[in-house]
C-alpha cells in the first residue's frame, strides 16, 4: 500500500511540475491561464498522497498527528484548487452557451441543502478529519474533476476542429481520466454513518470488509447492484487505492502529453503569421503594381493626346477598381462656376438611373465643402451620414462610406473626385493618398487638354500662313504672269503677229499646267493627315501613291519598320511635311523619273531618305535655298537634323533624322493589354 500511495503522490507531483514548467514557458493559448491552478492542485494533492503513504507506514503518534493536520489542510486546499481549475477549464476556455448562466441559480437551492447537511456532519462524534475528507471529495474533488473532465473534452473537440488531431485525442484521454478521477476519488469516501457515505465508502471497497448483506440493503440510497464495487473487488482483489493510482498515472500521461499542444499550436501560429505576412506583402505588392499600372496607363493616354473625356473616364474607372468602390465620380466647375458632374463609374451592384447623359449639377454640401476647403476628406465609419443619398448621382445607391479629394489646378479647386462604398467599410489613409494621385493625374490631363487646344490653334494659324505663302509663291505669281501674258497676247493680236501669238499661248499653257500641278499637289498635301491608328508610314504611303499618280514619277517606298515609330505626334507631322517638301522640289526642279523613299529606325532615331535620279545641283550655302531651309527648320524644331547631298547629273539625296521619344515612354506606343478589365466596368 505505501508503494501505491507513493506512486499516487508521484503522479500528481509530476502533473503539477509539468504544468508549472509549461506555464513558465508562456503561451497565448487560453489553456495557459489555467495551468497555475493545475500545477498548484497537483503539488498540493501530491502532498495528500504522500501523507497517506507515511500514515499507512506506521509512524510515531506525534508525527502521525502532524501528518494528519497537514493532510486536513492540504486536502480541502487541493480540492479548492481543482475546483478552480475545473471552473476555468469549463467556462473560460471556450465560451459556454448564454443560457448556462442561469444554472447556478437553479442549483443554489440543492447546493444550500447539501452544504448545510455537510456542516451538520461536523458535529457527529467521528474524528474531524473524516468529514473533512468526505466533504472535500464530495463538494470539491467531484465537481472539480467533472468540470475539468468536461473542459478537456470540449477542448478536445476544439483542437480536432482546428486540425490538431493528436492533441485532440490526448485531451479526450485527459478528459476521460479526470472523469475517472471524479468517480474513484470524488465518490468513494471514508466510512461514516450518514447519507450516501454510509453505503459507498472505503469499507465497501476494501477486500476484507464487504458486509455480506450489502446487496439486500433497504437503504433508499442503495445503489443498484451492478454498481456495487464489491463485484470488482471480488473479481480483482484490488483495493480502490490501486485504481486511483492507475487513474492518476493515466491522468499524468494524458495531461502531460496534451501540453504538447502548446508547441504544436505555437508552431502553427508562427506558420500562420508567416503566411499572413507573405500574403500581406503579396497584396501590398499587387496593389502597388495595380496603382502604378493604372497611373502609367493614364499617363500614356495623356501623352497620346487622347480625348479628355476618355482620359477622365479612365481615371474614375481606375479609381473604382483600385479602391474597390461601388461608385466613383468626378465633377468640374463650368464657366458659370457651377460644379457639374463630368463622369462616373459604378460597380455591378449599382444601377444607373435614367438621368445619365443629362447635365447634372452637384449640390451635395459635403462635396461643395471639399471644393471650397480644397482639402481631402474621408468618412471613418462613425459619421451620422445624412447626405449618403446625395453622393451617388444618377443612381439609387446610398453611400455608407466615402472619400473626397479636390482637383487643384495651380492651387485652385476646379473640381472634386469622390469615391463611395455602399457597405460600411471605411476608406483608409492609403486609399485617400491613392485618390489624390488620381486627382493629380486628372489635373495633368486637364492641363494637357488645354495645351493641346492651344497647339492646335497655333497649328491652324501656321498652316494658313503656309497655304498663303504657297499661293503667293505659286498661284498668285502665275496668275500675275497670266495677266501680263494676256496683255501681251492682246498686243500681238492687234499687231497681227500670229507666230509670236502662238508662241505666247504655248508658254501660257505651260504656266497654267504648272499652276494646276501646284494646286493639285497642295490639295494632296492638305488631304494627307496623320491618324493615330494607322501611323506615319501609312500616311506616307497614301501620300506617295497620290503624288506618283499626279506627277507620273515612279516612287518606291522602302519601309524597314517592323513596328510603330517612336516619334512624338509633332515629329510625325514634321516628318510628313519634310517628305512633301522634298517631293515638291523633286517635281519642280529635279526632272526625275524615279524617287526612292526609305524609312528606317536606327539607334533611337527615325531615318527618312529621299533619293531621286534627277539632274541634281551644285550644293550652295543653306541660306540661299528657301525650300531647303524650311525643311531643315522643320527637322530642327523637333530636335532632328536634315542633310542634302547632290551633284549635277547624279540626282539628289535628302536625309532626315528625327529622334524618338525617351525609352521610358517609348513602351507607351506598343499595344498593351490594360489590367483593368473593361468587361467588368460599367461606365457612362
Amino acid at each position: 500500500m505505501p508503494i501505491i500511495y507513493f506512486l499516487y503522490g508521484l503522479s500528481f507531483s509530476g502533473l503539477g511540475l509539468a504544468a508549472l514548467l509549461q506555464y513558465r514557458r508562456g503561451s497565448v493559448l487560453p489553456l495557459h491561464k489555467q495551468l497555475p491552478w493545475l500545477a498548484a492542485f497537483g503539488l498540493a494533492y501530491a502532498g495528500v498522497g504522500w501523507a497517506d503513504m507515511f500514515l499507512v507506514s506506521g509512524m510515531q503518534p506525534e508525527v502521525q498527528g502532524i501528518l494528519r493536520l497537514l493532510r486536513m489542510i492540504l486536502q480541502p486546499l487541493s480540492g479548492l484548487l481543482l475546483l478552480r481549475f475545473g471552473w476555468g477549464m469549463l467556462t473560460q476556455m471556450t465560451p459556454l452557451p448564454a443560457w448556462t448562466r442561469i444554472i447556478p441559480g437553479i442549483i443554489t437551492v440543492p447546493l444550500a441543502f447539501i452544504v448545510t447537511y455537510a456542516a451538520t456532519t461536523f458535529v457527529t462524534p467521528s474524528p474531524i478529519y473524516i468529514p473533512i475528507d468526505i466533504w472535500s471529495r464530495y463538494l470539491l474533488y467531484l465537481p472539480g474533476s467533472i468540470m475539468a473532465g468536461i473542459g478537456f473534452l470540449r477542448q478536445s473537440n476544439d483542437h480536432k476542429k482546428r486540425g490538431f488531431q493528436d492533441a485532440g485525442y490526448l485531451m479526450m484521454g485527459a478528459g476521460i481520466a479526470f472523469l475517472t478521477e471524479a468517480l474513484v476519488v470524488g465518490l468513494i469516501v471514508p466510512a461514516a454513518p450518514y447519507g450516501p457515505v454510509s453505503y459507498y465508502n472505503y469499507d465497501r471497497v476494501h477486500f476484507d470488509s464487504v458486509p455480506a448483506e450489502t446487496s439486500e440493503s433497504s437503504d433508499p440510497f442503495t445503489m443498484i447492484d451492478w454498481l456495487d464495487y464489491a463485484h470488482v473487488l471480488q473479481a480483482t482483489g484490488l483495493p480502490i487505492q490501486f485504481w486511483r493510482m492507475l487513474s492518476a498515472i493515466a491522468l499524468l500521461f494524458f495531461v502531460v502529453r496534451s501540453l504538447d499542444v502548446f508547441d504544436a499550436i505555437e508552431r502553427r501560429r508562427i506558420q500562420r503569421l508567416q503566411e499572413e505576412r507573405d500574403l500581406a506583402q503579396s497584396n501590398a505588392r499587387y496593389l502597388a503594381e495595380s496603382w502604378a499600372e493604372a497611373l502609367m496607363q493614364i499617363n500614356r493616354e495623356i501623352a497620346e493626346l487622347n480625348e479628355l473625356d476618355a482620359i477622365l473616364f479612365e481615371i474614375v474607372c481606375s479609381a473604382r477598381k483600385l479602391l474597390s468602390s461601388d461608385y466613383v465620380a468626378m465633377a468640374l466647375l463650368d464657366e458659370k462656376h457651377r460644379l457639374m458632374l463630368r463622369c462616373f463609374a459604378t460597380s455591378e451592384s449599382v444601377d444607373a438611373s435614367a438621368e445619365v447623359g443629362t447635365s447634372i449639377q452637384v449640390t451635395s454640401s459635403v462635396i461643395l465643402d471639399v471644393l471650397k476647403s480644397a482639402k481631402p476628406y474621408r468618412t471613418d465609419g462613425t459619421e451620422n451620414i445624412d447626405w449618403q443619398s446625395e453622393l451617388c448621382l444618377c443612381t439609387d445607391a446610398k453611400a455608407s462610406e466615402a472619400a473626397f479629394v479636390p482637383l487643384l489646378l495651380n492651387n485652385v479647386s476646379v473640381g472634386v473626385l469622390w469615391s463611395t462604398r455602399t457597405e460600411p467599410n471605411p476608406y483608409n489613409t492609403d486609399d485617400l493618398v491613392g485618390l489624390e494621385r488620381l486627382a493629380s493625374q486628372t489635373v495633368i490631363a486637364i492641363q494637357h487638354g488645354l495645351m493641346a487646344a492651344q497647339i492646335q490653334s497655333l497649328a491652324v494659324v501656321g498652316e494658313r500662313a503656309r497655304i498663303a505663302r504657297e499661293m503667293h509663291d505659286g498661284l498668285a505669281q502665275i496668275l500675275g504672269y497670266m495677266n501680263l501674258q494676256a496683255q501681251t497676247l492682246e498686243a500681238l493680236l492687234k499687231q497681227n503677229k500670229r507666230e509670236s501669238l502662238f508662241a505666247e499661248i504655248k508658254r501660257m499653257r505651260e504656266a497654267i499646267q504648272t499652276a494646276h500641278a501646284d494646286v493639285r499637289e497642295n490639295i494632296l498635301s492638305l488631304r494627307t493627315t496623320l491618324s493615330t491608328e494607322a501611323g506615319v508610314a501609312s500616311a506616307m504611303l497614301e501620300y506617295l501613291d497620290g503624288f506618283s499618280l499626279q506627277t507620273g514619277i515612279d516612287i518606291k517606298l522602302q519601309n524597314h519598320l517592323d513596328e510603330y515609330l517612336g516619334l512624338s505626334p509633332l515629329a510625325e507631322v514634321q516628318l510628313v511635311c519634310i517628305l512633301q517638301e522634298a517631293l515638291a522640289n523633286v517635281r519642280k526642279h529635279a526632272r526625275a523619273t524615279e524617287v526612292t523613299v526609305k524609312l528606317t529606325r536606327q539607334v533611337g532615331c527615325a531615318h527618312l531618305e529621299i533619293i531621286d535620279n534627277g539632274i541634281g545641283f551644285d550644293e550652295q550655302p543653306d541660306g540661299q535655298r528657301f525650300g531647303l531651309q524650311t525643311m531643315r527648320e522643320r527637322a530642327q524644331q523637333v530636335g532632328g537634323k536634315l542633310s542634302i547631298t547632290s551633284k549635277v547629273g547624279q540626282g539628289t539625296t535628302v536625309v532626315c533624322v528625327l529622334p524618338e521619344v525617351e525609352q521610358g515612354n517609348q513602351i507607351h506606343m506598343a499595344p498593351i493589354n490594360t489590367p483593368l478589365d473593361a468587361a467588368t466596368e460599367r461606365g457612362y
Binding site: A98, W99, R101, I102, P104, G105, T108, V109, L111, A112, F113, V115, T116, Y117, A119, T120, T121, F122, V123, T124, P193, Y194, G195, P220, F221
Partner: protein, 307 residues
C-alpha cells in the same frame, strides 16, 4: 440529524416557506406593476417566477413524503382537518400547490384574464400564508418547550418573507437575463422595475434579518427563563451546536449585507443589471444556507419534556 430521512422536514418547510414568501412578494410586485405599467409588463415579470414557484412547491411536497413510512397514505392526513394543525398544513399545502398550478396555467393559456389571475394569485398568497401559519402551529406543542413559543411562528414567517424576497429577486434577475437574451421589446421597462425591486428587496431583507436576530435574542432569553428542559435546549444551541449557530448568524448578516452592498454598487456603477447575477447568486446561497442551518438548529435543539 445525520440521517437523511430526517432532512425531509427541513427541506419541506424551507421550500414551502420559500414558495409562500415568493408568491407573496411576487404578487405584490404583480399588482403594483399592473397598476403602473399595465398587463403586458406585469405578465412578463411573473411568467417565469410562477413556474419556478410551482416547481419549488411541488419539490417541497415530494420531499415531505420521505419522512413518512408510507408516503402513499399521506393524503389521509387531511381527514383530521378539523382537529389537527398537521392535517390543515397538508390540506393548505395541497390547495396552495393547486392554486399556483392554476395560476401557471392561466398565465400561459389566458394571459389577458387579468382579474382571474389577480384572484388566483391573491388566493394563492393567502393559502401560502395560512399554510406557513398552520406549519408553525404544528410545532406549538406543550411537550416541546423550545418550540412552544411565539418565536416559532415569528421565525417561520421571517424565513418565509426573507426567502421570498431573495427568491423573487433572484428569479426576476434570471428572467431579466432571459429577456436580454431574447431581446425583448420592453426590456428597458422590465429592467427599471427589477432594479426597483432589487433596491426595495435589500431594505426589506435588512428589516427582516433585524427581526430574526431580535427573535433569536428573545428565544434565548425565553429558554433561559423556562426551566430545565428549556435549559437543555439552550445548552444544545450554545454548546454542541454553538459553531453552527454562529455560522448561521454570521451568514445571515453577511448575506443581507452583501445584498445591500451589491445593490448600492449596482446603482453607483450603472453597469447592466445582469452583470450582477453572480454576486446576487452568492448572497442568495449564503442566506439560504443560513436559513437551512437555522431550521436544522430548530429541529436539533428541541428536547421533549414529560414522557
Amino acid at each position: 440529524m445525520v440521517n437523511l430521512r430526517e432532512w425531509a422536514l427541513p427541506v419541506y418547510t424551507i421550500m414551502m416557506q420559500m414558495s409562500a414568501g415568493s408568491m407573496l412578494v411576487l404578487w405584490v410586485i404583480y399588482t403594483l406593476t399592473l397598476r403602473q405599467y399595465g398587463q403586458d409588463i406585469a405578465s412578463k415579470l411573473t411568467k417565469y417566477p410562477i413556474l419556478i414557484i410551482f416547481v419549488t412547491v411541488a419539490t417541497a411536497m415530494v420531499g415531505s413524503h420521505y419522512h413518512l413510512s408510507r408516503p402513499a397514505f399521506s393524503l389521509f392526513a387531511v381527514l383530521n382537518f378539523k382537529s389537527s394543525w398537521l392535517s390543515r398544513e397538508v390540506g393548505f399545502t395541497v390547495l396552495f400547490a393547486l392554486l399556483v398550478g392554476t395560476l401557471l396555467l392561466l398565465s400561459h393559456l389566458r394571459p389577458h384574464a387579468v382579474k382571474a389571475q389577480l384572484v388566483a394569485g391573491w388566493g394563492a398568497v393567502t393559502l401560502g400564508v395560512v399554510t406557513v401559519y398552520a406549519m408553525s402551529q404544528v410545532y406549538l406543542l406543550p411537550t416541546q418547550i423550545a418550540w412552544n413559543s411565539i418565536t416559532t411562528p415569528i421565525a417561520f414567517f421571517c424565513a418565509m418573507t426573507l426567502l421570498g424576497v431573495f427568491g423573487v429577486t433572484i428569479i426576476l434577475l434570471i428572467s431579466l437575463y432571459l429577456f436580454t437574451l431574447n431581446k425583448d421589446t420592453d426590456l428597458a421597462l422590465i429592467r427599471s422595475v427589477i432594479q426597483r425591486v432589487l433596491y426595495v428587496s435589500s431594505w426589506a431583507a435588512t428589516a427582516i434579518v433585524l427581526i430574526e436576530l431580535g427573535n433569536y435574542g428573545y428565544q434565548i432569553m425565553d429558554l433561559f427563563n423556562r426551566g430545565e428542559t428549556a435549559h437543555a435546549s439552550l445548552d444544545l444551541l450554545l454548546g454542541l451546536y454553538r459553531v453552527l449557530f454562529i455560522i448561521r448568524i454570521v451568514m445571515l448578516i453577511c448575506g443581507v449585507t452583501a445584498l445591500a452592498i451589491v445593490t448600492l454598487w449596482q446603482r453607483k456603477s450603472r453597469k447592466p443589471l445582469v452583470r450582477f447575477l453572480a454576486p446576487i447568486y452568492l448572497t442568495f446561497l449564503t442566506v439560504l444556507i443560513s436559513e437551512v442551518l437555522g431550521r436544522f438548529l430548530f429541529y436539533a435543539v428541541h428536547v421533549r419534556t414529560g414522557i
